[in-house]
């Protein structure tokens, strides 16, 4: 009772000052709220995600997104700079795996990772997930799969008409990305003839269209 009376007697200003200083000292004790190298992960959650493969993107999906010029995701090439310069999937950005957490990527972005095969991107996926990046995906099969299925699709000579129809589409996509569709007869590989059905001409995506999407973001300041 006496305590309450005493508290009531203290001026509001003083009370507020005491609260502020108390919180300030607490902040001082916490000192650094974002220590970057240690993370806590929900193991069970991640295991379920691995099991259900919700975090995979197929090469044909990516090809489709690039052709449609979608810009709501970022395609990240995890290989070294030299490998990236030799060849990369159009519209991709190069962030070597050691630089992944340096702040290039934001937690609210949709991120698709790829590497040569699939191992590095899977490992990078764990790093990002542990740091609570929201939507991180792995390109299934990596660059190898991209080359196999997108750049150099194959058709065996005794294919069914269905397969042939699919191959026509694949060839169009392949040529779009500058690849070469191939027909396999026995052990020999020959280049396929030009597509008899002219597919609609698609403009190749350029880097500027991605940049344009970024630029559209208006200034946020005062």
């Amino acid at each position: 009772m006496k305590m309450i009376e005493l508290l009531q007697k203290i001026d509001l200003k003083i009370k507020l000052a005491i609260i502020a200083i108390f919180l300030g000292i607490t902040a001082f004790i916490i000192s650094n709220p974002f220590d970057n190298s240690i993370a806590k992960i929900n193991v069970k959650n991640l295991a379920v995600m691995v099991q259900t493969e919700v975090d995979h993107v197929n090469v044909d999906e990516i090809a489709d997104w690039i052709i449609k010029d979608k810009s709501d995701y970022r395609l990240i090439d995890l290989r070294t700079e030299k490998e990236f310069n030799d060849y990369n999937i159009p519209t991709s950005e190069n962030i070597p795996i050691t630089n992944l957490l340096d702040g290039e990527l934001a937690r609210n972005e949709k991120i698709v990772l790829y590497s040569e095969g699939g191992i590095h991107s899977a490992q990078a996926w764990f790093l990002l997930k542990a740091k609570e990046y929201k939507s991180v995906y792995i390109l299934r099969g990596g660059l190898e799969e991209w080359k196999d299925r997108i750049l150099f699709p194959k058709l065996i000579s005794n294919a069914t008409p269905e397969d042939k129809a699919k191959f026509e589409i694949a060839s169009a996509i392949s040529r779009y990305f500058g690849g070469q569709p191939q027909i396999v007869t026995g052990s020999e590989i020959t280049l396929s003839v030009a597509n008899p059905n002219p597919t609609p001409k698609i403009q190749a995506p350029t880097g500027s269209s991605i940049g344009g999407a970024q630029k559209k973001k208006k200034r946020e300041g005062c």
Binding site: A20, G24, A27, F28, I30, G103, K134
Partner: protein
């Protein structure tokens, strides 16, 4: 919790305008409550007779700063997704000086003049016209001063990084500084009131 909500697509860009309006109402309401719709009250800050500007501004900064710090500490808020401007030191220093002069000449800053205009102050309305004229002139001569405008760019500079101290340490120092400034302001107001012989 994943904040900022907007950056994690909790709602659409169109809905963000509704939120803008609601936040603006809170902002305007607080400014008016503080007496910031009145140029005489704002100006008296600069004659040491009423230190409301300092008190309101610094308690707002301290409140928001502490809030941000603890939200970050609990892992609820991703500070890297909260937007703030780059530091361009020299243009900002010069701009700040011009703005300070404009503050005492005109009696308002852009936000407070909106409140003053909304509550019927003619000088607030005229002031706003002045602001737009100033922006127009800036835009027109921008090509001439573009070099200066973009000079001394230091990127996004976070004070703790710049000073090499921990985030919590800086927060604590700012709180101490603010409380000290409040104490000085209270003391100064009493002095000024005694000097002018009036009882406030």
């Amino acid at each position: 919790m994943n904040a900022p909500f907007f950056k994690f697509d909790f709602f659409s860009a169109d809905f963000s305008l509704v939120i803008a309006f609601a936040i603006g109402i809170g902002f305007g309401f607080a400014l008016e409550r503080g007496g910031f719709g009145n140029a005489r009250i704002l100006a008296s800050q600069f004659y040491f007779t009423d230190m409301r500007v300092l008190k309101v501004m610094f308690s707002a900064i301290v409140t928001a700063m502490l809030g941000v710090f603890f939200f970050v500490a609990f892992g609820w808020l991703d500070l890297s997704l909260v937007y703030y401007t780059d530091t361009n030191l020299i243009p900002q220093v010069v701009g700040g000086l011009i703005l300070g002069v404009g503050f005492v000449v005109g009696g308002y800053c852009p936000g407070t003049s909106c409140v003053s205009a909304a509550t019927g102050r003619i000088d607030g309305v005229i002031y706003l016209l002045g602001v737009m004229a100033g922006i127009f002139v800036f835009g027109e001569i921008f090509p001439l001063i573009e070099g200066f405008y973009y000079s001394s760019n230091m990127g996004r500079v976070f004070l703790p990084d710049y000073l090499g101290l921990s985030y919590g340490m800086i927060v604590f120092l700012v709180v101490l500084m603010a409380v000290g400034a409040f104490a000085a302001a209270e003391w100064g107001e009493k002095k000024m009131a005694a000097k002018s012989g009036g009882v406030k």
